[in-house]
Amino acid sequence: MSDNLGTTAPHVSVEPVSVMAPDGTVLDQDFVDTIPEADLVALYEAMLAQRVYDDRMIKMQRQGRLGFYLACTGEEACSYGPAYALQAQDWFYPAYREPGIALWRGMPFQAWIDNMVGNCDDPVKGRQMPVHWTARAQNIVSISSPVGTQIPQCVGSAYAAKLRGDDAVSICFFGEGTSSEGDFHVGLNFAGVWKAPAIFFCRNNGYAISTPYEKTTAAKHIALRAHGYGIRGVVVDGNDILAVIKVVREAAEWGRAGHGATLIEAKTYRIAAHSTSDDPTSYRTREEEAHWGERCPLKRLRAYLETKGLWDEAREQACITASSERVISALGVAEGKPHPDLDTVFDDVFAERPAHLQAQYSELKAHLASGQSAYKPK
């Protein structure tokens, strides 16, 4: 690691860090050895389970049982990896495609599913669309739809931790499309000036909805932008979960050592549609999807685990079945729960409900009681 104290800018490297080749061949045994085998198996199981959850959830949405869903298929390593690499005291600002942060860090599975349904036990009280969960107990900040807003906020939390003398780093996640927003540039610049222990994790999955990388930037790598802001920049193979863990660990050490921020560009591919509202067939080829399907993060870790005798087809099937049952049963439970209470519309606007909101609440209650409302309570 280069030092950040003298006249040289922190290092920006665009040679993708990898620990395992797409076929599972180990390229960096020393690093693999830092991770207990049981953890490797657990990470694989978690990513496989995630794929099953995503598949099921998309089916549920098609059946009209969910209002919306957005999968991370192909990008599982970009949320399970960082979640594994960081520590309990660290802060996370996810975008919307990082379920692994919630589930690996211990957000209760049922709460995560309740958010998809927006029922009375949804942590966000049915106020936001599915996939916009929050998990304060795990230091995971509430998800927003407007892209990129979390980036400068992450810098603020990183700075606050530094101010308090806490040993915490803050990490935010976003897609390469989002790196065009002003908030991205503002955030990196603040982090550079403040030497904030922040990690900017860019999932370069090739597309922002339909917009391909070439229409997002004329630069060859997103990571190059770190140079202009005087922070570290690295490129990593985002489908290699061990490489992701490695670069996130290094970025965290760099931040904890007082050197400041790192921009990580994880090269990956959004195998999934952007969301259940999207249809990628009109803007990319099946061949391209198949090409990346071969390079998916699950295949590679599975290949390695199999050579080590840590995984086999029987375990694969058992994990798929168990995950499928888990998500179906949790969805059933979630669907059985009532809607959030009417109060939730008016609560939390402010710490206390002002008089005009109390009056509007009473008006709405009377309207529902009159039987004239379009809304049918559940």
Binding site: G67, R127, T216, Q372, K376
Partner: protein
């Protein structure tokens, strides 16, 4: 006449404008190859090329800032902001730049361009795919703001916007993009009839979406956008109870049709104003003041608003939150029976 929904009408208008004038450019997120997330720009890139139908980087400030620069230079940009909820990175460009260019340059630099953006709830979009920000734009002098409620007006207003010497924001009610009501499409609705040729709907002119029948207590409803349909249904219900509604569809919010408002309000003396946005400083508040200032002597009942509540837009309880027919009906009864 062709049968079109609002999306098709917008697409048709853009098509005509681009065909008749090489100087018209469309830009925005996913508008090119994909044809827009709501499909409003489908087919344009294939016909007019990537230089005139531009898939921009994901940056609203860039889209609007660049469109302003094109407009200053003399190119007519029609920018799409994917959802009006995502317009705020461009708020500075719109409010401090676009709205003031003509004025601040002593008239040297007018900035004629168009911003199209979907607004409103009813699509299960939660906080960030449902908001109605019109009052945040009419408040800033210099922006023309229009809000069609049907395919005919969507096409005619968009073509008028493209012809306008001023910057125009076209707020498209996404809930009724494909039909006036859930499940019922524009094909079976008289307002789905749209001329195929170029035509404009004059900016600043309201339409009377329902006329008084002369039977029952007359009441005026002033509204716009998707709420025209909610109010229309309420008017039908109210007719059964002896309430006779004149429904004013404003179509233009800035400038607004003062003559039409005054004519209707002074005729009925009873006025309900409806907007989907929150109540506080919403567009209905301005209309309420306008009616009170101009028609006080004729008023028989307090001017009454039906609006969204002063909270963020919820997801699960969306249809409890959204002003519905029942709430409009209650307001109609209140003003009709006020003594």
């Amino acid at each position: 006449m062709a049968k079109m929904n609002i999306i098709q009408a917008v697409n048709d208008a853009l098509h005509l404008a681009m065909k008749s004038d090489d100087n018209v450019v469309v830009l925005g997120e996913d508008v090119g190859k994909f044809g827009g997330v709501f499909r409003a720009t489908v087919g344009l890139q294939a016909e007019f090329g990537e230089d005139r139908v531009i898939d921009t980087p994901l940056a609203e400030a860039g889209i609007i800032g660049a469109a302003i620069g094109m407009a200053l230079y003399g190119v007519k940009a029609v920018a799409e902001i994917q959802f009006s909820d995502f317009i705020f990175p461009a708020y500075d460009q719109i409010v401090n730049e676009l709205a003031k260019y003509r004025y601040r340059s002593g008239g040297e630099y007018p900035c004629p361009m168009v911003i199209r953006t979907p607004v409103g709830g009813g699509i299960r979009g939660g906080h960030y795919h449902s908001q109605s920000p019109e009052s945040l734009f009419v408040h800033h002098a210099g922006l023309v703001v229009v809000a069609p409620s049907n395919p005919y007006d969507a096409k005619g207003l968009l073509l008028a916007a493209i012809d306008s010497p001023d910057p125009v924001m076209v707020l498209e009610p996404k809930r009724i993009y494909r039909g006036p009501d859930h499940g019922k499409n524009w094909g079976s609705h008289p307002k789905g009839e749209v001329p195929e040729a170029h035509f404009t709907v004059p900016i600043g002119k309201a339409a009377i979406a329902r006329e008084l029948t002369g039977e029952g207590t007359p009441v005026t409803i002033i509204t716009y956008g998707a709420m025209v349909h909610t109010c229309g249904k309420a008017a039908e219900e109210a007719a059964k109870e002896g309430i006779d509604v004149e429904l004013v569809d404003l179509r233009s919010l800035q400038p607004y049709d003062l003559d039409a408002i005054v004519a209707s309000a002074s005729k009925t003396g009873r006025v309900v104003i409806a907007n989907e946005a929150p109540r506080m400083c919403g567009y209905a508040a301005e209309m309420s003041a306008v009616v009170t200032e101009h028609c006080f002597d004729w008023l028989e009942a307090p001017v009454t608003r039906v609006t969204g509540y002063d909270t963020p837009f919820p997801y699960t309880l969306e249809f409890a939150y959204l002003p519905d027919t029942g709430r409009v009906l209650k307001a109609l009864r209140d003003v009709a029976t006020y003594a």
